[in-house]
């Protein structure tokens, strides 16, 4: 007969220092709750609204709490965009909140030596000591006219993030405050901008889609808009033909009609061939694009151009004058410059896809025409020469006239938020001087166009900062602050970041866990968890609806010494700076920010945090957006907090037809928009666009630089030495590289098709496995020109021979006792893909490339 105790008393025992193992060893039981406890009374709890920032989808959620503890999460049923749903990343946030390896107090380093595997000797310190140290160092540089030698970098942020990561450093006189965006997906935005004028992710109308062409998109598994995609997928499968172009047999490919296993980096060739076949078959949209003038306008019964007239014949140039445009421009030039010879047969050997399959895709895509959607994602775009191929894939939407049409890709609905109060009156002379100085990241060089939304040199070169620090070019960086980013793990060629972070004389790391980057920090500051413990808000769109979603303190912070990074920490640093004689930032925070409801000014970091959130979201709850016809009328701040979400009205179809954000206002198959920017840049360097293209490592010369086209992929590593092309994907459980320390992440890792729980496997085609003499589970060393991983081999039919792949997310050598195989010894669990992938860039957008088979690898069996 077994002994029975309550679970509560069992845990009391273990909390007193009796380990579970010791207990279990002597008395064989697991706890059993007392029979007299009523299960009914235990059910009391409440749902509170918040938001998930596990990826950029930023979904509204509801959190169920019981006695001040978070127990359950679900999608916010008040959100129309997500249909009230979530994805598995959201669920994992609970375990993130209660991760014992979370940093609960500020810490300082006691070991001056820095390096991987060197114990930093962190010891807890008070906030006062941490703030004092930071303010002293910062003011020292400030007073010495070296404020620009401070670099501030942010990773994931809510829409209140600029308080900490823009206004604080700007008022402190550094131009060097940077986002993480070019290790994210700026190249995708760039390609979209170049053809349709939208420098952003597109929205998608899945409800009316009849043919969904997914370019490395995996929406039922990873960013973008998973809850919408997951919720609608059954219906999409019923109503639409789904084709997934991806080197990897992805989760979405598994639930599609056709998987097109393209050779990594050749997406542009496939897109170009599809465009050629659509035009050669005369199947483009006359309504959207226009048509050939057969003499004077020749209308058919549908009111548009005669569909029988088609001068797009393989190999033949077309006279531009013969074509009459409607909502688009440049089609004939695109044909003449790129498309005319590049049919399906041309693309077949490049992409590894049969010409017949390519033709079929083109035929079907055109058949569903305005209800066919080409959804372009980072796998296709984030390549060294990725812009033009992504433009081609994006341009298919224009070709069939589905852009902003029912069932197509969309410009999202717009929603206004409140502006931050003007910080400029609070600038001192130094701040005014340095805000005009060039940033240190290398954007102001001929090597990079670094263009964002039509600007030049206005895009951050995130991944170059490591090189700036190491080379001291243009100057030495003396202080680094990072917020919610972990570039020693998450940036391509991350070994450089380890060196850079070790070199910086003073490094402040704001992080929830003892991350790889934190190992190099002098001060570590612990933030609250965005979803459960702090004020903030996010904004995004899915399924035609744009939403603004609250983040609020659902519970009291688990650890009282944590602070909201974006607002509370900024306030406290400002307060400490003021205490030491520099009060500009504090004055800005304490006087410019006024509660839009009560008229009160903030008195401490907590009230500041809430007031910032109120100011920014005010139009969503004070009726301003409702009166503009943008969406919900929520009536009050209180009601916004209760509902948690502002829903816009659905975006209107064709709303930008004829007035796209391009230079010509049309959908540009020949990008006058991109041309204007490139010519301006060429002029400023007194050179030619051709010379710029060469500088940027693009192959295009002449007019090709302005049209979507195929560029050969860049691959690092000699094919003789490194015979395999390496490609990667995101885990559907990745909270952006921050969830690997959660046991449930490891336990359910196999929800990524082909992956193995608690493991990190390189997926290799079984033919290659045989050639290499490998069997499943063998330990292998995977090496590139950049570095190596030691992982396990797995035979997998979801990749072609010659191409190997690994999911990003494992390979932490720090972060916690689960993420790392051995935290104390800095032994990783598996390998980090970013130690294999070198730092290389798309020089137009500034994107750090990590797709398209950028690196080759060799595989060696270990232990023989």
């Amino acid at each position: 007969m077994s002994v029975q105790v309550t679970r509560r008393s069992f845990l009391k025992a273990s909390a007193l220092g009796l380990g579970a193992a010791a207990l279990a060893g002597s008395t064989p039981f697991v706890p059993l709750a007392a029979a007299d406890e009523s299960h009914q009374k235990n059910l009391a709890g409440k749902w509170t609204a918040s938001s998930c920032q596990g990826c950029t989808s930023f979904c509204p959620v509801k959190v169920w709490t019981q006695d001040g503890r978070v127990v359950r999460v679900k999608g916010n049923p008040n959100c129309t965009a997500t249909h009230g749903q979530m994805c598995p990343k959201t669920s994992l946030a609970i375990d993130q909140l209660y991760d014992p390896d979370r940093i609960k107090v500020p810490m300082k380093r006691t070991n001056p030596q820095k390096g991987r595997g060197i114990d930093p000797g962190f010891v807890p310190i008070t906030w006062d000591e941490a703030l004092d140290t930071i303010a002293t160092k910062w003011l020292e540089l400030h007073d010495n006219n070296e404020s620009h030698k401070v670099v501030f970098m942010k990773g994931r942020a809510s829409e209140t993030g600029d308080i900490l990561s823009h206004f604080l450093p700007a008022l402190m006189g550094t131009p060097n405050y940077f986002g993480h965006s070019t290790i994210c997906a700026e190249e995708e935005k760039f390609a979209s901008w170049a053809v349709n004028g939208l420098f952003s992710y597109r929205d998608y109308d899945l409800s009316h889609c009849k043919y969904l062409l997914l370019w490395s998109s995996d929406p039922i598994a990873s960013n973008r808009q998973q809850p919408n995609a997951i919720n609608r997928w059954g219906q999409v499968m019923d109503d639409a033909h789904i084709v997934v172009i991806d080197p990897r047999f992805s989760a979405t490919a598994a639930k599609a009609d056709l998987w097109v296993p393209i050779i990594p980096g050749t997406d542009g060739a496939l897109a170009v061939a599809i465009a050629h076949e659509i035009l050669a078959a005369g199947k483009w949209s006359r309504e959207f694009v226009g048509g050939f003038k057969d003499g004077p306008w020749n209308l058919d019964e549908s009111g548009y151009y005669d569909k029988k007239v088609n001068l797009f014949k393989k190999g033949e140039e077309v006279d531009e004058e013969r074509f009459e445009y409607r909502n688009a421009s440049g089609l004939v030039r695109w044909w003449n410059l790129e498309l005319k010879d590049k049919d399906a047969a041309w693309a077949e050997p490049i992409c590894g896809i049969a010409a017949a399959d390519i033709k079929k895709i083109a035929t079907d895509f055109a058949k569903y025409g305005q209800n066919a959607c080409s959804w372009v994602s980072p796998g296709t775009t984030n390549q060294v020469r990725g812009v033009y191929g992504a433009m081609a894939a994006e341009a298919l939407n224009g070709l069939v006239g589905s852009f902003e049409h029912e069932g197509g890709a969309q410009h999202p609905a717009s929603v206004s938020v409140g502006p931050f109060p003007d910080h400029r009156p609070y600038r001192d002379k130094l701040a005014k001087t340095f805000e005009k100085k060039p940033q240190c990241d290398g954007r102001h060089t001929k090597e990079f166009l670094a263009s964002k939304d039509g600007g030049i040199d206005n895009q951050v070169l995130t991944n170059r900062i490591a090189d700036v620090i190491l080379s001291e070019d243009p100057y030495e960086i003396k202080m680094l602050i990072t917020k919610y980013c972990n570039f020693a793990y998450s940036a391509m060629g991350c070994q450089r970041w380890e060196q850079a972070m070790a070199k910086v004389p003073f490094y402040v790391c704001i992080t929830m866990n003892p991350s790889e980057s934190a190992q190099f920090a002098d001060i570590v500051l612990p933030p609250k968890h965005h979803m459960f413990e702090n004020w903030g808000y996010v904004k995004n769109y899915q399924d035609m609806v744009t939403y603004v979603s609250i983040e609020q303190p659902v519970i009291d912070p688990v650890w009282p010494d944590t602070k909201t990074d974006e607002t509370e920490m900024a306030w406290c640093i400002a307060e400490k700076l003021a205490e030491k004689g520099f009060d500009k930032v504090y004055k800005y925070f304490s006087t410019a920010f006024v509660d839009p409801e009560t008229g009160n000014q903030p008195t401490d970091e907590k009230s500041f945090s809430e007031i910032v959130t109120k100011i920014r979201t005010a139009p969503c709850w004070n009726g301003a957006n409702a009166s503009k016809g943008q969406g919900d009328d929520l009536g009050s701040w209180r009601n916004f907090c209760s509902k948690g979400v502002f829903n816009s009205n659905a975006a209107k179809f064709k709303k930008d037809w004829g007035k796209f954000g391009t230079k010509t206002g049309t959908y540009e198959f020949y990008s006058e928009t991109l041309k204007a920017v490139l010519e301006k840049e060429a002029w400023s360097y007194t050179t030619t666009v051709d010379d710029l293209m060469e500088t940027y490592n693009y192959q295009a010369r002449g007019g090709l630089a302005f049209v979507p086209h195929y560029e050969e992929p860049v691959r690092h590593g000699d094919p003789e030495e490194y015979p395999f092309i390496f490609t990667q994907n995101r885990s559907r459980l990745n909270r952006e590289g921050r969830s690997a320390n959660l046991p449930l992440y490891q336990e359910f890792k196999d929800v990524d098709p082909g992956d193995v729980p608690w493991d990190d496997v390189l997926k290799i085609n079984p033919q290659d496995m045989e050639k290499l003499g490998l069997k499943d589970g063998d330990t292998i060393k995977v090496s590139s020109v950049q570095g190596s991983n030691t992982v396990h081999a797995k035979g997998w039919e979801g990749t072609r021979p010659g191409v190997v792949m690994k999911t990003y997310g494992q390979g932490h050598w720090a972060f916690g006792h689960v993420a790392a195989a051995d935290y104390a010894q800095a032994t990783p669990r598996g390998g980090n893909n970013n130690e294999l992938i070198p730092a290389d860039y798309d020089h137009l957008s500034g994107q750090s490339a990590f797709h398209g088979g950028l690196t080759r690898v060799k595989i060696e069996k270990v232990g023989e």
Binding site: M1, S2, R7, L11, K12, S14, A15, G17, A21, L23, A24, P28, F29, L32, A33, A35, S38, H39, N42, L43, Q66, D67, R69, V70, V71, R72, K74, M86, C87, P88, S91, D95, L97, Y98, P100, R102, I103, K104, F122, V123, P124, A221, Q226, I230, G234, F249, A251, A254, K255, W259, P261, L733, L744, F748, V751, N765, E797, R800, G816, H817
Partner: protein
């Protein structure tokens, strides 16, 4: 009354939300799954197919585990669920052996709760599992719902850990946690004896299958719209 579940394999995208929600709700020990999945890759590149099937206790009408139990601890409730009365259980293990689906796991010596409590502190500035429980002002895991013996996964070592269909929720008129957590609405819960219920209607509308029908267990978990890519 016959509580049942329909799982729509066409709508299911294999995301794991149900697995995770189940593990969180029931705080099962590591390696024990009350709700889990079977996945299979078949075919040869490039003509491959991947199937994913959520699995759980089938709450069989003719349950092998109930028949095997010598003390009637494992029993059928009036609502049709297969549940265990832990007080009557002798941890003989016969139910787990009898279940043809492997849906019952004898409780190991450590619970998830015990494991969390025993997590040692990683470095100064982080916490031990015990610290964390204390910080959450609870002597049980901070993110544990206040489950009790009625809701199970709490049993003596060797006793049966199995899906109780979240009866602590179902009794209150809520749906099981895996149903609420499913973003695809691929899990539908209800009374199969109620001709107005969604489960009844779906079973009529679609061809429904059960796992191992030849075992004669009459499962209460039905699969509709089987999905397999064919070439």
């Amino acid at each position: 009354m016959r509580y049942s579940m329909i799982i729509n394999l066409h709508d299911c995208v294999g995301c794991g939300c149900c697995d995770i929600a189940c593990a969180q709700e029931n705080q099962v020990p590591a390696g024990v799954h009350l709700g889990y999945h079977q996945s299979e890759m078949s075919g040869t590149f490039p003509k491959v197919s991947y199937t994913y099937r959520p699995v759980m206790c089938n709450h069989c009408a003719n349950a092998a585990c109930v028949k095997a139990c010598p003390t009637a601890a494992m029993h059928k409730d009036a609502n049709g669920l297969t549940v265990v009365d832990v007080a009557a259980c002798t941890q003989c293990g016969r139910c787990a052996k009898a279940c043809p689906y492997g849906a019952i796991t004898p409780a190991p010596a450590e619970t998830a709760a015990g494991q969390i409590g025993a997590v040692p502190q990683l470095l100064q500035g982080t916490s031990s599992g015990a610290d964390l429980q204390k910080a959450a002002k609870k002597d049980y895991p901070p993110h544990d719902n206040a489950l009790d013996a009625y809701s199970l996964p709490i049993t003596a070592v060797g006793g049966p850990l199995k899906c109780q269909m979240c009866r602590h929720l179902v009794d209150n008129g809520d749906v099981p946690r895996c149903v609420e957590a499913c973003p695809a609405n691929a899990r539908i819960f209800g009374d199969m004896d109620d001709i107005y219920s969604d489960v009844y209607k779906l079973r009529q509308e679609y061809e429904a299958s059960v796992l191992l029908p030849d075992e004669g267990t009459l499962p209460g978990v039905y699969y509709i719209r089987e999905f397999k890519k064919t070439w």
